[in-house]
C-alpha cells in the first residue's frame, strides 16, 4: 500500500544550525510534493511546492529537494530560529493532480532550542 513516512520523533536542533527534515514515500509516483508548517491548534500553512522534474527549490531560508530515485524529499531550514519550532508536513500528489491527489504525511515536530 502507499505510504508516506516522516520522522515521528521530535527533532531538536540548536538555534543557528540547519534543520533537515525527511519525507520518504513508497508505492507512489508523485508528480508534486508540498511542504506545510502547522502550529499547535492551527491549520497547516503552505511553504513550498516542488515538481518531479525539479531537483531543488528555495525560498528565503528554506530549501526542498526531491529525489524520485530515492523516493525522498529533504526539507532544510538554515540559520534556524526558535520561531521555526512547529510541526512540518509533507504532502504528495500524483501526476495530473486532481482534486483528490494530495496525501499528507503525519508530520515531524521540530524544536529549535535557543
Amino acid at each position: 500500500s502507499q505510504k508516506i513516512e516522516q520522522n515521528s520523533e521530535a527533532l531538536n536542533i540548536q538555534e543557528g544550525k540547519t534543520a533537515t527534515l525527511t519525507c520518504n514515500y513508497t508505492n507512489y509516483s508523485p508528480a508534486y510534493l508540498q511542504w506545510y508548517r502547522q502550529d499547535p491548534g492551527r491549520g497547516p500553512v503552505f511553504l513550498l511546492l516542488i515538481r518531479e522534474n525539479e531537483k531543488e527549490k528555495r525560498k528565503e531560508r528554506l530549501k526542498v529537494t526531491f529525489d524520485t530515485t530515492l523516493k525522498q524529499s529533504l526539507f532544510h531550514i538554515t540559520a534556524s530560529q526558535p520561531a521555526d519550532s512547529a510541526t512540518y508536513l509533507c504532502a504528495l500528489a500524483y501526476s495530473g493532480g486532481g482534486a483528490d491527489g494530495l496525501t499528507f504525511g503525519k508530520g515531524t515536530h521540530l524544536i529549535i532550542q535557543p
Partner: protein
Amino acid sequence: DVKVTQSSRYLVKRTGEKVFLECVQDMDHENMFWYRQDPGLGLRLIYFSYDVKMKEKGDIPEGYSVSREKKERFSLILESASTNQTSMYLCASSPGLAGTYEQYFGPGTRLTVT
C-alpha cells in the same frame, strides 16, 4: 490574502446529534476540502468538491456528508454524531488541481462528541 474561515473553533455535541460544520473561503477557489486530524493518524481527507454541487468521497467518508450550494461555502455534516468522530476538523481551499496548487487551510474546529 486568502482567507478560509470555519464557523466554530470549539464545539461540543452529544452522541446522535446532527452536526453542521461550515467553511467559507473568500478567494473564488474552485476546490474545497474537508479533513480530520487525529494524533498519530495525521490529516485524512473526508470529502472534497471541485465545483458547486459537485462532491467526491475522500479516504474516510463514512458517517459524513457534505453540501456545496455556493462556490464560497462548503459544509460538512455529521448525520448522527458518534464519539469516534471527536477530532480536529480542517477545511481547505485551492485555486486548482490539488497537486499543482497549494491548499489554504482554515483555523480548524475542535469537535468533542460526548
